[in-house]
């Protein structure tokens, strides 16, 4: 596995720029989803998930998961990760 440092990226959460830590990229039904953590405070972090979509230029972008069932599926995988 790659080192953890190689799996970080910058995100803006509620107008604040933060460093996101990629936990895992998973595929569900042929779509890719990235599960990542954004620090909330010194002790806790929010666990977030976004769909990874490759744009026309071949770059990966993050798209919000609108489907509730998909969110539940991602949550199930997160539960497995943290179990």
């Amino acid at each position: 596995m790659e080192s953890n440092e190689s799996q970080k990226f910058i995100v803006e959460v509620d107008g604040v720029t933060k460093e996101a830590d990629v936990l895992k990229v998973v595929g569900i039904d042929g779509k890719r989803y990235v599960i990542y953590a954004v620090p909330k405070n010194e002790e806790e972090s929010d666990i977030l998930a976004s769909e990874v979509v490759t744009d026309a230029e071949g770059y990966d972008t993050l798209v919000d998961i609108e489907d509730a069932e998909t969110r539940k599926n991602v949550l199930a995988l997160v539960n497995i990760m943290f179990s």
């Binding site: 799996q7 910058i10 803006e12 569900i28 002790e43 666990i47 998930a49 976004s50 972008t61 919000d64």
Partner: protein, 466 residues
Amino acid sequence: MEETVIAAKENLKNSFTELGKNLKIYATAKIDLEKSRLKTVGTSMLGKVKDVNTSISKALNNGKKSILKFKENVSQKATAAKAVIGSAKNVAIKKVKESLGNFGQKATNVLIKSGTIALEGAAVAVSAVNGIINFTSEQIAKYRANRAERIRQKQELIAQKQREQAARIAEAAEREKQHQNAVESAEAFKEYFREQRKEAVLNFKKGAIQKAKSAMALMKIVGKKLLNSLNPRNIDLKIANAFANSQIFVTSLFNNAIKGINDRIDFLSEQLAQYRADKFEKERVKKEKIEAYKEELARKKAEKAKEKESHKNAKQSARVLSAEMRKQDMLNLKASVVQNTKSALSKVGSMGNNIVQAIKNKKDALDEKVSTAFKEARVKTAGYIVGGVLIYNNVKNYASEQIKSFREWNSKRKEQAAIEKAAERERLQKEHDELIEKLRIERDKLIEEITKNIKQDPVVAPVRSM
């Protein structure tokens, strides 16, 4: 018979030998067959492992490429892209990151355990270790359903445990309550027995104090002070004094002892032995004196008891004597009364038949009177002695009445006698006077005759006067 048995034994032995040979042949054939089968399986597994390794290598390469590309290109705003799944402790996240290497295997195992993944899917998932791990929504849905069921069961189990725990707590509370009641009862009993004991101790103390007082009084009497109060501050000095009194404590040691007040005091074993011997001797002398005093006390007590007994006997004797004397006095009085009565009767008798008759009449009257009085008073008389002897009171009253009557009668009789005597005297005087007068007349007559005769005869005889 014996030959038959030997033959049977031989046959049995041969049968066992044949059976052993057959078993050996069967076992060899079975082992060869299993070896062959295992070899086939092993070859197949080696091929599969090779395929898996190939798949893993491919997946790793794809994952690396994907991640690198992702890392390089993902830099857009995530505000609209994020879907908050939940929150986790940073410590947990760190552990997850460290263990994500086997996430694929772990997820596969979880899904397999949930019965939601096929062998092919597992193989695909396992091949994606450290890369993108692919799942189907059906698999995850099954997993979620299973997980939800497990959670439900777990919650139910927790609820059941909570109910059981509550029941145990209630039971424990009940036991605790019973225990508390038992403890309270025990405490009450304890308190009761404590009070009883306290009372007993107090009584014992009172008794002990009384005994101590008696002992102290005893000691005072024998002139010895037995008890000396001791306390931690003066005990050393008292010990020293005790040694000094027993004359075995030299000055230097005494000084050392004084310095050692409230501190350590050293004594020689000879000193202690001497002190004990001296104390023992004192105790012996004291005991002897106490014994002597006790004996003296017992002797005095015995004397006193004897004296008391004697006094009691004397008192009893006096009481008996007194009663006897009173009885005797009574008898004497009765005898005296009887005698007096007899005497009175005798006197009465001596007064003549008239008097006797009068007394008898009076007596009868008095008897009647007394009898009537007794009847009216409903007093039982003890009877009276025929011939004038009555029981003391009756006789006394009777005699008193008799004497009184006699005195009255006698007084009247005397008066009558005096009257009669005076009348007799008067009569005699009258007769005398009359006789004198007669005589005078006669004399005068004679004188006249004589005078006449004298005149005729001058010689006249002298007349003697009366």
